[in-house]
């Protein structure tokens, strides 16, 4: 009987497990291995065995740590991802708060309205900003009109860091709204009423009650925005100038143009480690926050 149960269990979980081992786990391990190898003469990888010698070394790692330009690009990518996270938070908070406070029957609709753009094609959303920020569009003409009033040289909006940042925020916004809403929805309005009765002003109520209570949602949203934003390459590729190359662009370049797979793998691994660290950090802070006495009481209330 027990054996039959186990057999059934493996019949159900076996096929997806096998598929993901072959098409996710093994490719990831191969990439880790590739980071220790030498690039081939015509790109790709040099043979693993040659003249009785196993091709495993740390050269690509040494290159990453010795050439300052890569550390700089990495820091720049972290900067962009951080700015994206903060801007998403600023725009998402009122949205999530509004949805959480609206009557129950409208909530799903309002939430759906936030999610729908996320389902439109990624490239279309980038393309939309090409149009809006284009040199002949109303926005650029308006901005440059004002600038020329002040005797300033006209500035291009497209192919700039500004365009990259706006689009990064645009693409990742729903990821911030969802966890924030899921958190804010659970807040007990009685807490705010009690604070009001005790004479707390609106800002005090927000900073001392709503915001601290919403921190788990903030951390979850921050991780969901920061991690994908860190690895993005299409947005700087399409909307950025030559200065706006991020870590994703360098990875793409290593794999498809330079064809230096070992170095591309090293960069990918650095990106993975950074993403995992951030996710772990967000989870750790969120947990620690929940176990500090004051917030625990607040939760219980």
């Amino acid at each position: 009987m027990r054996r039959a149960r186990n057999l059934g269990r493996w019949l159900v979980s076996g096929p997806p497990l096998l598929y993901l081992v072959v098409f996710f786990a093994i490719p990831s391990l191969i990439m880790v291995l590739a980071s220790f190898r030498t690039p081939g003469e015509f790109g790709g990888l040099a043979p693993l065995y040659e003249e009785g010698k196993l091709d495993l070394n740390l050269e690509s790692y040494a290159r990453f740590f010795s050439e300052a330009v890569y550390a700089q690009i990495f820091v720049k990518s972290v900067g962009y991802a951080l700015a994206t996270t903060l801007l998403c938070l600023a725009i998402a908070y009122p949205l999530a708060a509004l949805i959480a406070r609206s009557p129950k029957r409208y909530r799903d609709l309002l939430l759906l309205a936030v999610i729908l753009p996320f389902w439109s094609n990624f490239l279309i959303r980038i393309y939309a900003w090409m149009i809006i920020l284009g040199p002949n569009a109303a926005l650029a003409r308006g901005v440059n009109g004002v600038l020329s009033w002040f005797g300033h040289e006209p500035v291009p909006l497209l192919f700039s860091s500004f365009a990259v940042l706006v689009c990064l925020v645009y693409v990742h916004l729903p990821f911030m709204v969802l966890p924030l809403y899921a958190n804010l929805e659970k807040h007990d309005p009685a807490l705010l009423e009690a604070a009001q009765d005790l004479g707390a002003r609106p800002w005090q109520r927000f900073w001392r009650i709503t915001f601290p209570l919403s921190l788990p949602g903030v951390y979850a949203g921050a991780a969901l925005v920061f991690i994908p934003a860190l690895g993005i390459f299409a947005i700087p590729d399409i909307l950025g100038g030559p200065e706006d190359s991020l870590i994703g662009n360098v990875i793409k370049q290593q794999f498809l143009e330079t064809r230096d797979w070992p170095f591309g793998s090293v960069l990918s691994i650095v990106l993975t480690v950074a993403a995992l660290l951030i996710a772990g950090l967000a989870a750790w802070i969120a947990r620690r926050n929940l176990t500090t006495p004051s917030s625990r009481e607040a939760w219980r209330a």
Binding site: L116, A138, F233, S268
Partner: protein, 263 residues
């Protein structure tokens, strides 16, 4: 005082919604604009749609995208349903990590690791490699929707069927599956949408000769901006919108499972 505060909230949220929708509306509006420049409104035309339907490259790309999406959604629905059932009944860390990681990590990582994998195996990059890659990331999405559906289901029904002498497969086929069907269909539609829209993973696994709709759009906007891109974008948005609306009608819990995803 509360009313004033509410007005601020409304204003900020209205800005948020405008930020989300104005760009997409502009893409659609300019697809009907009688001008090569996406800069100002000149007049109404359907010419860009006409150009689109005579664009051979675009038609080939659309065919490829539909084929890949059909295969990827079919296979990932079967595997994802199995994964969702397994995650619900026998929670295991290994399975959860394998199913959810492809969703959680930056897409580019999966793209490049699959590129190395396929090339080292001498596997020709093309429709099949793209479909195999899409299946891998769609499994997780289907599994989450199915698991959410199972969580809302009364397991005693399956137990009752087993007590009445149904074999495990029969209990699944005649009791569990019909009950979770809305979740399975919603998951399949979601997988189809994700596959047809995917750019990053496709970009790395398609090789030089194979083009899908997002890849075609990418190469067009890298060269020049023409309203033909607006036209194909509008149609793609319409398709996605239809699929998502059907999915959320079939399974109202889809929205909830997206929240779950966000956690």
């Amino acid at each position: 005082m509360p009313r004033k505060r509410r007005a601020w909230l409304w204003l900020a949220a209205a800005f948020g919604y405008a930020f989300l929708y104005v760009p997409l509306v502009i893409v659609i509006v300019y697809s009907f604009n009688d001008s090569r420049l996406n800069a100002e409104w000149v007049g109404f035309t359907l010419n860009w749609y006409r150009t689109l339907f005579h664009d051979n490259d675009m038609i080939v790309a659309a065919g490829n995208s539909l084929f890949i999406a059909a295969v990827a959604s079919l296979v990932s629905t079967i595997l994802g349903t199995a994964a969702g059932v397994a995650m619900h009944r026998h929670p295991s860390r290994l399975l959860s990590v394998l199913v959810l990681s492809p969703i959680a990590i930056p897409e580019i990582l999966m793209g490049v690791s699959l590129l190395i994998f396929f090339v080292l195996l001498n596997f020709t990059l093309g429709l099949v490699s793209v479909a195999l890659a899409h299946i891998a990331f769609c499994i997780g999405f289907v599994a989450i929707v199915v698991r959410a559906r199972l969580a809302g289901m009364d397991e005693s029904l399956t137990e009752a069927a087993r007590d009445c002498g149904a074999k495990p497969w029969q209990a699944f086929r005649y009791v569990t599956l019909p009950l979770i069907m809305p979740g399975v269909i919603a998951g399949a539609l979601m997988a189809f949408t994700l596959s047809i829209d995917d750019f990053v993973i496709t970009f790395f696994t398609a090789g030089a000769g194979t083009v899908t709709l997002p890849l075609q759009i990418y190469s067009m906007i890298k060269i020049a901006v023409t309203p033909e891109v607006n036209a194909v974008s509008s149609l793609l948005m319409l398709l996605t919108l239809a699929l998502i609306i059907i999915a959320s009608k079939v399974s109202p819990s889809l929205l909830r499972s997206q929240e779950e995803l966000a956690k």
